[in-house]
């Protein structure tokens, strides 16, 4: 497994400029959502002493009044945010075609290959996504087994702690389901690229078969990346907590730290793509 990750890391590093593509796509989308919100807050409270209190922590009065008196501004911003999130998802789906092709080909960065592949596979990835929703639906229905079990064991009127803890278990199952779904979607895309498959249903099926046949390795690889991301977050959080302050310098430092963390996330994501590609190629196309 370590050698797969090493190879994945090497392939990602060979195309390190992709990190910037993914990072800037993320940053620009988030900025498009946040900047109008910042402008609205600035317009509402920029010349108020209450805005100064924000340096020390969230001020409930300011928050309450901002939500109350800027509702007409915040509503469209949130709607736009939702739209931007969907567009971002489509953009990363588009970019993933180029990235996966580069990782699968093992070639040096080639702009024509990257952008050409991004466009070439986008339609197939979109179809794959629509088919994969069936898998997602099944996975999301699985936690309902807990609801049924709860009904069978405790009846229609269980104690509150039963519903409370069964809710937790359902949530964990949802997370596991989504984790599994993302693996299926990743290997489906890799399958399309590796075999130039046009029938996305077949690609989805083969991805499922691949995951079944190499379940331990596939899950272990995804878990390693998920855990690395989690550890990275805690390290970020620890440092950010130390830096927490009310002056412009500490605020700027935290901003830089946040962006470094997001660069790390983008690199991790791409390393994940590359490692999954290596794993797939190792066992399907030895």
């Amino acid at each position: 497994m370590l050698s797969i990750i090493k190879q994945g890391l090497a392939r990602m590093w060979a195309h390190k400029r992709l990190i910037l593509f993914f990072y800037f796509a993320n940053l620009i989308t988030a900025a498009l959502i946040i900047l109008p919100l910042r402008a609205a807050l600035n317009r509402f409270a920029g010349h108020s002493q209450m805005a100064d209190r924000l340096r020390y922590g969230m001020d409930a009065d300011l928050l309450i009044e901002f939500l109350q008196y800027s509702g007409e501004t915040i509503g469209p911003i949130l709607l736009f945010g939702l739209l931007a999130a969907i567009l971002y998802w489509l953009l990363t789906l588009y970019l993933s075609g180029g990235a996966l092709k580069l990782f699968a080909s093992g070639r040096q960065y080639d702009a024509a290959l990257f952008w050409g592949s991004a466009g070439r596979y986008f339609g197939r990835f979109l179809r794959l996504f629509l088919w994969s929703l069936l898998v997602l639906l099944i996975l999301l229905l699985l936690p309902q087994i807990i609801t049924l079990l709860q009904r069978l064991i405790f009846g229609k009127d269980p104690y509150e702690y039963i519903t409370y803890y069964s809710g937790f278990i359902r949530l964990i199952l949802y997370v596991i389901g989504v984790f599994f779904y993302l693996m299926v979607f990743d290997y489906g895309r890799i399958q399309i690229i590796s075999s130039e498959e046009r029938a996305t249903r077949k690609a989805l099926w083969r991805a499922l078969v691949f995951i079944r046949d190499h379940f331990g390795r596939v899950v272990l690889l995804s878990l390693i990346f998920a855990l690395t991301g989690t550890v990275g977050f805690f390290i970020y959080y620890f440092i950010a907590d130390l830096l927490n302050g009310s002056i412009a310098l500490t605020i700027a430092l935290i901003f830089i730290l946040q962006q470094l963390f997001m660069l790390f996330r983008a690199a991790l994501r791409l390393t994940g793509f590359a490692s999954e590609t290596v794993l797939y190629q190792k066992y399907v196309m030895p």
């Binding site: 993320n26 940053l27 989308t29 988030a30 946040i34 919100l37 910042r38 807050l41 600035n42 509402f44 409270a45 920029g46 010349h47 108020s48 002493q49 209450m50 805005a51 100064d52 924000l54 340096r55 922590g57 969230m58 409930a60 009065d61 928050l63 309450i64 009044e65 901002f66 109350q68 945010g81 999130a85 971002y88 998802w89 999301l140 936690p143 609801t147 009127d157 104690y159 509150e160 702690y161 409370y164 359902r170 949530l171 949802y174 997370v175 389901g177 989504v178 984790f179 993302l182 009310s246 002056i247 412009a248 605020i251 935290i254 901003f255 946040q258 997001m262 996330r265 983008a266 994501r269």
Partner: protein, 674 residues
């Protein structure tokens, strides 16, 4: 204090005395209240069908100077009888046919009503609808009398009734499986005052009004059931049919409620001279300490702050799951709480409910105002008390919510509701006449509480405390009205506060003062032909400056520095007039305080100084929580972008992180759907 010493030993004393059910029980040697409406009730609960069968003996005294020809009774449970009752119609979509199957509706029927002499009054009794003429509403029963009751006279009536509790509980009472919260459950006489009956129908909005009296209530329930009720339990009798009759006795109360469940877990403790009994649901037992602590704090705080709680005990009922509507209500010596499993300790909602509901044992049970006509008199005053108690017991910030870096105090919690709908109605009006349920709640609770907090900040805490104590002292066990509170406030404060109460209570005026403009511009040295040989003008200017700003700034005047003419414009954006203070801070640190009576539409303050204005703030000490917009209270010379940038950078990161974690979104959406 005499009463209390008796009460402490009352339980044992009464137990000894009540060897027979006809024994006379006495908690207070001297009645605390007029004891106009007195009830002896035998009631039996069918815990499976949720029905009640009751026999009531009412002894009612005519304390008016009128001859009374008729009596009027509340039959509150009939509000849940059908989908045409005024309660259901008032509630719009909240109670619908779909929600309640035939077996779930509640009702009460008077099966017989006779005088002590045996005269049957039932043939002449009929329903009336004094508020809305809705013929389908059966919540007020009129009973004509064969002979009038003379002034000072009394009547004894024997009333048999059967009733069914709504399931699940609606609007304070009802049943859910083995649990029952039995409130507003018996034929209850209205209040005769000002030459007529005050007996409103039961509406979706608004609460109750009743005379004080003595209650002897025998409650028969299955023997496995635990009972909590108004008053003290003086005896328990096991019956041959597997039931137990619990005998409760209460004096000088104006209502009686009880609750029962075999699943209650009982906790008992003491706060000062009051015994506290908490009846928890099994699934909330891990919160029993929170409940008990809050109840103990409430008792101690109210006794220490406002005066004696004359009763020996307090019972706290924890509503069952699925019976949330029976939570958060007050009855004499009994309150219902509200919580949910797993609620974080720093989300003090269970504490808020207990502190608030216990507060009603002062503001409503000791001062029995008409909740339907003047809800603010108990809800508003009680909300004010709640704000104080949270501030004093849990600190001024984050005292109700302190989670994930967000700190919200009870005062802010109330403001949040208040600013959402501050101007649809005056506070004093019948509950059902408000613009909406939201307006009723906002004005009766939030605005009233914030208005009294504003008044406290205006008069000083000591004066306000004297007002509250005097009001409680003068109107204990009586029926105060709004004017009575105003009279006490005027008398105690030694000021005529009508201008304040007129605006707060009888108008929909909104209070909003704002610093709308600050400016500083340098004054050029005088130049030109006229001043070619003179430098005197500059020193003259400095003299002028000194005169206008006072001695404290004289030191800062430096002939070499620039001089600025600065101005601050404060505007009254709402129609509510209130005196305000203004603080002006200059770049050199100098501070000026101004007072303005707030009457004009706007006022402008001008300064000539050696420094520019840094910022200006109206109400700098946050004394006016009634102000609907605190953000516009101040204006700064420079944009305050540091704090905004801090939060926006956090926001940017949160959005970036979320965008990068699609699984998070999917999991949340799936969880919501699931």
């Amino acid at each position: 204090m005499v009463h209390k010493s008796v009460v402490h030993h009352g339980y044992l004393l009464v137990c000894l005395l009540c060897l027979s059910s006809n024994a006379q029980h006495m908690l207070f040697p001297t009645p605390l209240s007029p004891r106009i409406a007195n009830y002896d009730i035998d009631v039996r609960l069918n815990s499976e069908k949720h029905t009640l069968v009751g026999a009531e003996t009412l002894t009612w005294h005519n304390t008016s100077s009128d001859y009374i020809n008729e009596l009027q009774f509340h039959l509150y449970l009939n509000a849940f009888r059908n989908n045409r009752s005024s309660f259901v119609l008032d509630s719009n979509r909240r109670w619908s046919d779909k929600k309640y199957k035939q077996k779930n509706w509640g009702y009460i029927d008077v099966t017989s009503i006779t005088t002590a002499e045996g005269e049957d009054l039932a043939p002449h009794m009929h329903f009336i609808q004094p508020d809305d003429d809705n013929p389908e509403d059966k919540t007020v029963l009129r009973v004509p009398l064969p002979e009038p009751i003379a002034p000072g006279g009394s009547i004894v009536l024997h009333i048999n009734f059967k009733a069914k509790l709504p399931e699940p509980p609606i609007s304070r009472n009802g049943a859910k499986a083995e649990y029952a919260m039995v409130a507003q459950w018996f034929p209850k006489i209205g209040v005769y005052e000002h030459g007529k009956w005050n007996c409103h129908q039961y509406h979706y909005r608004g609460e109750f009004y009743a005379d004080y009296g003595v209650y002897n209530v025998r409650i028969t329930v299955p023997e496995k059931n635990i009972v909590g009720a108004t008053g003290i339990e003086v005896s328990r009798q096991n019956n041959s049919d597997g039931t137990v009759t619990h005998f409760y006795h209460a004096e000088d109360v104006h209502d009686f409620a009880w609750s029962t469940s075999p699943d209650f877990v009982e906790f008992i403790d003491q706060s000062q001279d009051v015994q506290i009994r908490v009846l928890m649901q099994k699934d909330h037992v891990n919160q029993s300490e929170r409940y008990m602590t809050a109840a103990k704090l409430a008792v101690a705080y109210f006794q220490d702050t406002y005066g004696d709680y004359p009763f020996a005990n307090l019972t706290v009922i924890d509503p069952r799951r699925g019976a949330d509507q029976s939570g958060g209500m007050e009855y004499p010596t009994l309150i219902t709480a509200a919580t949910a499993y797993g609620i974080p300790e720093k989300l003090r909602l269970p504490e808020m409910v207990i502190l608030h509901e216990f507060g009603h044992n002062y503001w409503y049970h000791l001062t029995a105002n008409n909740e339907y006509e003047e809800a603010w008199l108990d809800e508003g005053i009680n909300t004010y008390s709640e704000i104080q108690i949270f501030n004093d017991l849990y600190g001024p910030t984050g005292n109700i919510i302190d989670l994930l870096g967000l700190k919200i105090s009870d005062l802010q919690f109330n403001r949040m509701g208040y600013i959402s709908l501050p101007d649809r109605d005056p506070i004093v009006r019948n509950a059902q006449d408000f613009y909406s349920g939201g307006s009723y709640g906002v004005l009766s609770y939030y605005k009233s509480g914030l208005a009294l907090t504003t008044l406290q900040n205006y008069l000083g805490r000591e004066t306000m405390l004297k007002i509250m104590r005097t009001f409680l002292g003068q109107w204990r066990f009586k029926h105060p009205h709004t004017q009575d509170f105003i009279d006490v406030a005027n008398q105690v404060s030694g000021r005529n506060l009508d201008w304040f109460f007129d605006q707060v209570l009888y108008s929909a005026a909104v209070l909003d003062y704002s610093v709308t403009q600050i400016s500083s511009r340098s004054i050029d040295k005088k130049t030109g032909f006229d001043y070619a040989y003179s430098t005197v003008s500059d020193s003259a200017l400095s003299d002028t400056t000194i005169a206008s700003v006072g001695d404290s700034t004289q030191k800062s005047l430096d002939d070499s520095a620039k001089t600025y003419k600065s101005s601050v414009r404060v505007e009254r954006l709402g129609s509510f007039i209130f005196p305000v203070e203004l603080q002006v801070v200059f770049t050199n640190g100098d501070t000026v305080r101004e007072c303005w009576d707030g009457r004009d539409e706007w006022v402008k303050f001008t300064y000539v100084r050696k420094a520019e204005i840094e910022f200006a703030t109206v109400d700098p000490d946050n004394k006016i929580p009634m102000d609907v917009n605190l953000v516009n209270n101040s204006r700064t010379r420079k944009t305050q972008s540091t704090g905004i940038n801090k939060w926006m950078s956090r926001g940017l990161f949160a959005v970036q992180f979320s965008l990068d974690l699609p699984e998070l979104f999917i999991a949340i959406i799936a969880r919501i759907i699931g």
